[in-house]
């Protein structure tokens, strides 16, 4: 009984599978023929040859330019120098020590420059003051003949100019005695503070004020005032060593 049941089950299973395949199966695809006409195009051999011979399209080949006569001269000179120094004792020293040394120094220089360090100051004993040159001074107090210029100014009653010359002469006297350091960018007060002797400083301060009132302030000056100022300059000179 069990055997018959098993046979029927297998029969039923095969039938069910067949029915399922028939229900879900697709029709086979139909392949249509392409009826469009195909035209075969051929490259123009002449054009291809023309482009092949054109140097602009020769990417693989490197153009070799012949060096000029000037460059050939330098190449020859360098070759001669290298030959000369590489076949002597001096040459071997240069190659062994000098060139590596220079390369190392160059590297250090580049690093220091990049770090913003003042390379020149490392080798200089004096403190760096300014890397900008002075303008040409309009007057050099060491070249003026003060006595004759002052006498000329007094003779022309130009007391204002005479006071100016007296003051410049005073600065020259201080500079000659190394009490001040004459420099075009220094103001009168800079010289005042340079004087270390209190008595000299006080007197110089008074003279400076008079000069400034006359020269920068354009205050009127007569003979009487000038004589007074002239006497003060004379007294100051007496104080100097």
């Amino acid at each position: 009984m069990t055997r018959y049941l098993r046979r029927y089950f297998l029969l039923w299973l095969l039938l069910a599978l067949e029915l399922n395949t028939s229900a879900t199966g697709n029709k086979p695809a139909v392949l249509h023929k392409d009826s469009a006409a195909v035209t075969v195009k051929a490259f123009d051999t002449k054009t291809l040859k023309k482009y092949a011979e054109d140097e602009d399209f020769a990417y693989v080949k490197e153009k070799k330019e012949q060096p000029s006569a000037w460059n050939r001269f330098w190449m020859w000179l360098w070759a001669l120098i290298i030959y000369a120094i590489s076949n002597t004792f001096l040459g071997s020293v240069i190659f062994k020590y000098l060139l590596p040394g220079l390369a190392l120094a160059g590297l250090i220089y580049v690093i220091m420059k990049a770090a913003g360090m003042d390379v020149a100051a490392l080798f200089s004993r004096k403190a760096k003051k300014s890397d900008i040159p002075y303008y040409e001074s309009l007057e050099n107090i060491h070249e003026i003949d003060f006595d004759s210029e002052i006498n000329n100014a007094i003779a022309q009653y130009n007391y204002r100019l005479a006071v100016r010359l007296l003051y410049l002469k005073c600065l020259k006297q201080l500079s000659d005695r190394e009490l001040i350091k004459w420099q075009i960018d220094k103001t009168n007060s800079a010289y005042y503070y340079e004087l270390s002797n209190p008595a000299q400083r006080e007197m110089f301060g008074a003279l400076t004020r008079r000069f400034e009132y006359v020269w920068y302030g354009d205050f009127g000056i007569n003979e009487h005032i000038f004589n007074d100022i002239n006497r003060m300059f004379g007294e100051f000179k007496q104080q100097l060593p």
Binding site: G116, W215, I221
Partner: protein, 325 residues
């Protein structure tokens, strides 16, 4: 001594008295900073705006407040913040429902002494609002121009631009400040004195007792007097040479403008006045030059990276120019 020799040309007694009075008033609270105080007084006399720069805690605002208190004038204070709008400073038209008209509501800029605290915390848009009023002493809003009352002075404080939350001020605005004064840290002795005064509560008590020493009209009169001081042509040439040199210097990307030349001469006159003279000397010019120029010149990027400061370049320039004598 000179008055006995030379005939007195200008009566400076009132001016000298006012200067001494302001100095004495400020000295009650501010320890040291004599150069700063001189420059601030010079700024008042030269009719200029002043920018005070310093790190936090060096009494920038206190100094500016004291100067404002020393003058009997309408005082306004504006705290600049990143969200400040131009209308917050200048004012804005407001609709009045009763009159059915727009009425202009004046902003804090309408005063005599305007303290702008931390000016570089506001962006360029707000800074631009100050251009016209700082230069022309007038404001134009909705086609109407409003003249500022005399005296009109902007006292601004700022932190260095390296500080967090600050903006660089536009060049056009910087050029409108007569001075940029840098307040440095006090010396050890000054620091001890500051702490001692604070400990004894001297500062707080005296701050409330500061009384004005100059009226608005007196400030206007003194400015007029200073403007008329004598300047020798050779000093003008000396000034022009310095400013011209800033335009040709290899370390500078931007040099001083003609406004800078005018500012140097005006400021030098004021410094001469403080020293009791009615004419200027090369010393006066050189004293004000760094404060006049340091905010107007711009270093080249390489010099900036090397750590060179505008003051270094100004010193180099001054070193090149012959002092007229």
């Amino acid at each position: 001594m000179e008055e006995e020799i030379f005939e007195q040309r200008t009566d400076l007694s009132k001016l000298n008295h006012a200067v001494e009075h302001i100095k004495a008033t400020l000295a009650k609270i501010i320890v040291g900073q004599h150069e700063t105080i001189d420059l601030i007084i010079a700024g008042i006399l030269a009719d200029g705006h002043i920018l005070i720069e310093g790190v936090p805690g060096v009494a920038k605002t206190l100094t500016a407040k004291l100067v404002a208190k020393a003058i009997d004038a309408k005082y306004s204070r504006v705290q600049f913040t990143p969200d400040l709008m131009p209308s917050d400073i200048l004012g804005t038209p407001v609709f009045n429902p009763k009159t059915t008209q727009f009425e202009f509501k004046h902003g804090p800029i309408f005063g005599n002494i305007i303290l702008i605290d931390e000016i570089n915390r506001a962006p360029a848009k707000t800074q631009s609002a100050l251009f016209e009023v700082m230069e022309e002493r007038q404001l134009t809003i909705d086609g109407t121009s409003y003249k500022m009352d005399e005296p009109f002075m902007v006292l601004a404080t700022q932190n260095p631009i390296e500080q967090e939350g600050t903006y660089r001020l536009p060049e056009a605005q910087l050029d409108r400040f007569l001075f940029k004064i840098e307040i440095k840290y006090p010396t050890l002795e000054e620091e001890i004195l500051i702490i001692t005064q604070q400990h004894q509560k001297k500062n707080t008590e005296q701050l409330s007792h500061i009384k004005p020493v100059l009226s608005s009209q007196e400030v206007v009169d003194l400015r007029e007097q200073v403007r008329g001081f004598h300047v020798e042509p050779k000093i003008l040439e000396f000034t022009a040479r310095i400013i011209t040199e800033t335009r040709n210097h290899k370390s500078l990307y931007l040099g001083g403008s003609p406004r800078a030349s005018l500012a140097v001469v005006s400021a030098a006159k004021a410094i001469a006045a403080i020293k009791g003279r009615d004419f200027i000397t090369p010393d006066d010019v050189l004293q004000v030059t760094p404060a006049v120029l340091r905010h107007r010149i711009m270093l080249t990027p390489d010099k900036e990276m090397e750590g060179v400061t505008p003051d270094d370049v100004i010193a180099q320039i001054i070193q090149k120019i012959e002092v007229p004598r």
